[in-house]
Symmetry: C2
Subunit: 338 residues, 2 copies
């Protein structure tokens, strides 16, 4: 075990698309847990698109990270020392409060035990974690997908998209993928997606979506915003629901004033509903969802793909891969071995 704690601290708020130099790796002593606190050794860290919103001075749904502070993020790790009766050394735990570091100090509140016998421990950051729950609630609770509907999913092979496509299929819908490579689209086919559009090679994305969704889009699960969004909005069926879940395509436009009224006419003509989605609003239902997702996985109905970077020092690079759409599957960072 290491005898120092490496931390990735934010140097400054990025302007537009972040670069690796916006963080710095700082070494400090392994911290000591206070009363009721838990010292944890990081095993896996998750990097997720939402993190772009946390390093911006703009209004957001959660507290951001300021310059000089340790970068925020969820992870899975092993308890080293516990000053809380619910946890003991050797427990595997998951929390959104790890931060990009070797040795986080966690509060019991917000820390959840992970059973390593049930599934690979990093699943708690994938189909059983934030991405899986996001797909679950966005489609089943918010959009209320119905059998027979056409469900267009952007970032279709990503952490959220791959679970979403399979849930749509399980519910008798027709999932259609938008992804950035032929390789990703081939994986989408394996997951049960019915059709796919490569947005990097498409000459006319709106026409491509129209061809793949001849009766229009009933539910558009938007994980990117940007040009994919614009093209999808031209193909909404009447009473379509658009779930605005991710805005990663706007990563290089952060802090710019918000514009964009022209597409409203498409919403009006289709009587579509556009809704912002935030997973935390569904907190009371997490356990039900995890149970159902785990059952699907165990029964072979749910596949899951990960993209694992090796070593804490690669954390910003892994995050940037994600912002640039270079990852394939749920992007994780393996910090240490169990």
């Amino acid at each position: 075990m290491r005898n120092s704690n490496r931390q990735w601290r934010l140097k400054r708020f990025p302007e537009g698309m972040p670069v690796e130099d916006d963080w710095e790796l700082v070494e400090s002593p392994v911290p000591t847990p206070g009363d009721g606190e838990i010292l944890v050794r990081s095993l896996y860290l998750s990097v997720d698109p939402y993190m772009r919103g946390r390093i911006s001075p703009a209004r957001n749904y959660a507290q951001g990270v300021g310059p000089g502070e340790v970068m925020t993020g969820g992870g899975v790790g092993e308890v080293i020392r516990s000053n809380h009766p619910d946890f003991k050394a050797g427990d595997i735990v998951e929390s959104f409060q790890f931060g990009w570091q070797d040795f986080p100090i966690l509060k019991a509140d917000g820390t959840r035990k992970v059973d390593p016998a049930l599934a690979p421990i990093q699943s708690a950051l994938g189909y059983l974690g934030l991405p899986g729950l996001t797909a679950y609630f966005a489609l089943l609770h918010q959009a209320q997908i119905q059998s027979g509907e056409t469900v267009l999913i952007s970032a279709a092979s990503g952490a959220v998209g791959q679970v979403a496509g399979q849930i749509a299929r399980l519910k008798g819908c027709r999932p259609v993928a938008v992804a950035s490579s032929a390789e990703k689209l081939a994986w989408c086919r394996e997951l049960g997606y019915d059709a796919g559009i490569n947005h990097r090679t498409s000459d006319d994305l709106a026409a491509g979506i129209a061809a793949a969704c001849p009766d229009g889009i009933d539910v558009f699960f938007d994980n990117t915003a940007g040009p994919i969004h614009d093209a999808a909005m031209q193909n909404l069926a009447v009473k379509a629901r658009v779930i605005v879940c991710g805005t990663i395509a706007l990563a290089d436009k952060f802090g710019q004033p918000d514009i964009g009224p022209r597409f409203l006419r498409q919403i009006m003509v289709a009587r579509a509903r556009v809704e912002g989605f935030l997973l935390f609003d569904y907190q009371a239902h997490y356990e039900t969802a995890r149970r159902e997702l785990a059952t699907w996985y165990r029964d072979g109905k749910l596949k899951h793909r990960e993209d694992i970077a090796d070593g804490l020092e690669r954390t910003p690079a892994a995050f940037l891969r994600l912002l640039h759409g270079e990852n394939f599957g749920k992007q994780l960072v393996k910090v240490d071995s169990l």
Copy 2:
């Protein structure tokens, strides 16, 4: 009574903002009604923002008007000759199928008798017609406004807005007006609006809305799109509902490709819901709504203001006043006297 039928026919699809020369006034003989048809003398014509959408080759929710065809529109008139058992000469009727002309031929289906003893006959084009029903269903059925909520209404003194503000007040909400002149805002105060913003004179519309809606906007009834929309979107309360009902501010941008993903982040952060609204979806409930609106008017709880242009020859000019926001209240054209 005239012995010829003047008709305003579309000459060409306007590019951007229409001009009066996009129509021409053509004289033809008074038509003869066929089997089951009704010949009507136009008394009032309504000009409404939706008409901009009808003279565009772009996709819309209803059949458009092509070059050479009589311009579409609703009206109130007197039956001259009826070949249908439900109507007789002298009846006052209302229909969306008048068109801009002296003597429309109507089908019984879609034609509704108006009782001149109940209210001035042109009310059937105002608070008891398309604008009143729009305000009613948008706020009560679609947005489901709740007592205590802040309801921001654009084009607040217009045909729809003036009814909407009063309904919001009747339901215990706090209506806030956006309008284009001090005179219009003074009228909004009389209607029960709690605060108002003049978007023509405001230096910083987003800040003005923030000041008038310190707890954020719970329901944004968007009758314009454009810069007012952009400013409102920066002030959404969590779980806000935005009803996209009118897009008149886009009148000079028709036919341009749809853009606008950046404001999606505001929707996501606020978990707001944006919905397209089309009155016709509520057809089964029109009569209930008319009854309630008429009761409010009779009880002095609902005021209504009209802006009447005199003479069929002024119809395109009246429509253009509306597109430029120069009208004050429900814009009508008086064609003939009862």
